[in-house]
Symmetry: C2
Subunit: 161 residues, 2 copies
């Protein structure tokens, strides 16, 4: 399931290496987050939900799956499991900064869904709180002081090699 860097039996072009590397990190991302529940779970956590049964009720997720998802997120360092009570041991799950850093991605998905998938029901729209303007999400270049679209993005390898 996890694709190790060694596991490149099907690449024939060598300019694929860059892609391969990038793919493997995004593959890891998707292996973590790319299923029907994990994003929903994180979203619930962003709304302040912390306990097992609350997640269960809020999302309508089956318990064994919730157990598995929470464990996976804790293992990945996106949530922590903390005991908030000794005597009957009770735990709560909290987001780590790493998970909070995912919020732009989650917001982008929510926005896209609202704009492209909502049917008869009016979607919630996200606005800039200070002025109430409908949210735009763009890429911002501090050097050029402009926003730009996806066509102006290029990937370059970072680091010493």
């Amino acid at each position: 399931m996890e694709r190790t860097p060694e596991h490149e039996h099907l690449h024939e072009q060598d300019d694929r290496r860059d892609r391969q590397r990038e793919a493997s990190t995004i593959e890891k991302t998707l292996a973590l987050v790319g299923d029907r529940w994990t994003i929903l779970l994180l979203r619930a956590a962003f709304r302040g939900i912390r306990r097992f049964d609350d997640f269960c009720a809020d999302l309508g997720i089956a318990r064994p799956i919730l157990t598995a998802r929470l464990r996976k997120l804790v293992d990945a360092g996106l949530m922590t499991k903390e005991q908030y009570q000794q005597h009957p041991p009770r735990y709560e799950y909290r987001l780590t900064p790493s998970a909070i850093a995912l919020s732009p991605a989650i917001v982008a998905l929510v926005r896209w869904g609202d704009e492209h998938l909502s049917t008869e029901q009016p979607a919630t729209i996200l606005v800039h709180a200070p002025c109430g303007t409908k949210l735009q999400q763009a890429f911002w270049c501090a050097t050029c002081a402009t926003t730009f679209g996806p066509t102006a993005i290029r990937g370059i390898p970072s680091g010493p090699n």
Copy 2:
């Protein structure tokens, strides 16, 4: 992305109906896009891949699954299947504007993965092609002409209700 300690939710307003409605559209989004392959497929398409066998080779995806994913994306209006040659009928798959609108979400996921999941391998960083500056992703308010982080986002219901 700046984070303020007290802000652990994107927006609260615990109107249950609001949440419920929003959840259902994000659920649809995730049902479409929330699996191990779809995002990877879209990413490949963003890189210019258009043909069945090329997707197959590039992603290492099994053919039946690719068939299913492409069909799902075409049905959802994210891709079009166009015949580019008559005589042996050959098709290619192209992204629609609706899919291109997903790019902020995909970029956000890639970036997050590169920052939080990459191990020893240096991650590819995304840059603004014209000037080479490292990509910032922000929310942009056209009215205020500023960018802002997730803390300044509020959700409001659109339409009646």
